[in-house]
């Protein structure tokens, strides 16, 4: 073992925490190297000097101050269990507001949009349904011009209903 390697192990050697195998290697080196031997001796001296440092007793009110500071800590009641974290609560509120806003949007738009189903159109439909027994054959119905005008097909319905509606309003 070289001096550099021994230096790294010297602290553990002096305080007796070295593995027996490494310890033997260090001791073999120390037996041959006077410089490392002196250093090990001086490390022991440092260790014993550090032991001379007296321990400091905490002041009498120390414990009381710690307890006082702990008593001043805000306590969480059982109700706190129901209260989520602030960020989570904010996100939830935001989500609810967004949902309400989105939910209300179509309702507002439909109020301004023209209603396809008017009372006149409903009346036409009602009459068509009432005469359904006569109009069994769809092909016959579509070929009869007079009836076709009277009973609009599904494709013609929105276009034809409006003039009828206007007529009825008039």
């Amino acid at each position: 073992m070289k001096c550099e390697k021994v230096s790294q192990e010297l602290v553990a050697y002096v305080d007796g925490r070295l593995d027996p195998g490494v310890r033997n290697e260090v001791e073999e080196h120390l037996a041959e190297c006077a410089a490392c031997q002196v250093r090990a001796q001086e490390f022991r001296g440092v260790f014993s000097l550090l032991d001379e440092l007296p321990a400091m007793e905490p002041s009498l009110p120390f414990d009381a101050r710690v307890r006082q500071r702990i008593a001043a800590e805000p306590r969480r009641s059982w109700l706190a269990w129901f209260v989520p974290q602030a960020r989570l609560a904010f996100a939830a509120v935001l989500l609810v507001v967004l949902a309400v806003w989105v939910g209300k949007r179509p309702a507002n738009n439909s109020a301004h949009a023209p209603t396809p189903a008017t009372p006149a159109a409903s009346e036409q439909d009602f009459n068509a349904i009432k005469n359904l027994g006569v109009l069994e054959n769809y092909d016959v119905v579509t070929k009869m011009d007079a009836l076709a005008q009277l009973v609009p097909t599904a494709d013609q319905k929105p276009q034809k209903q409006r003039p009828d509606q206007n007529e009825s309003n008039d």
């Binding site: 602290v11 101050r65 710690v66």
Partner: protein
């Protein structure tokens, strides 16, 4: 600590009683001021109390406790150093200061003067205080708390190999600084002066 976590307040008193002495001493040796050390120790206990619900026993309780204490101490030392630097740079020099040279820090006094003043303990304290913070923390945890290398490495957030190097450099610095006390002739003279 697990009892404290489960809400047993009396267990916290037990922790306080058991660890206040090593904690206050560790912090005192780190910051070299009694009042500051006690304030910091209170902060550490308060942090332990606040973190009780999140406590997970991954390592020994002392490792966790001294990791908090080391961080608190290192922050305090750095803040204090910054404040001192600001004072020394910003404070205007008075006429009195200009007329007399400033006193040199006591660390720069000759070591035999310390011996003559019989400030042996003071000298040891100063030698420890003169170490870089991380070396100081490593020595205090190693020498006074008698922690094993793995535990100290966890506290200082380094590998065991790095810790061995750190400890070697720290004790080497102390060996140089305390040389006159460590060497046998000087030790003998110091021993003669010490009261029996």
């Amino acid at each position: 600590m697990l009892d404290v976590k489960s809400g047993d307040e009396s267990s916290f008193d037990f922790l306080l009683t058991k660890y206040r002495l090593p904690l206050v001493n560790f912090l005192y040796r780190m910051v070299r001021d009694r009042a500051t050390a006690e304030d910091l120790a209170q902060d550490v206990f308060l942090r332990v109390y606040r973190a009780r619900k999140q406590y997970v026993p991954r390592a020994k309780f002392t490792t966790w406790l001294f990791r908090i204490a080391t961080n608190v101490a290192l922050n305090s030392v750095r803040d204090n150093r910054r404040q001192k630097l600001e004072v020394s740079l910003d404070a205007p020099r008075s006429a009195d200061e200009d007329s007399h040279p400033r006193d040199l820090p006591a660390e720069e006094m000759r070591i035999d003067e310390h011996l003559l003043e019989r400030h042996r303990v003071e000298l040891i304290q100063r030698a420890i205080a003169s170490l870089p913070e991380k070396q100081r923390a490593a020595v205090l945890l190693h020498k006074y708390e008698e922690m094993d290398y793995a535990e100290i490495a966890k506290i200082l957030n380094c590998t065991e190999a790095a810790l061995r190097s750190l400890l070697f450099r720290a004790y080497e610095n102390l060996r140089v600084q305390l040389g006159p006390l460590v060497n046998p002739p000087a030790l003998q003279r110091a021993g003669e002066r010490r009261p029996s």
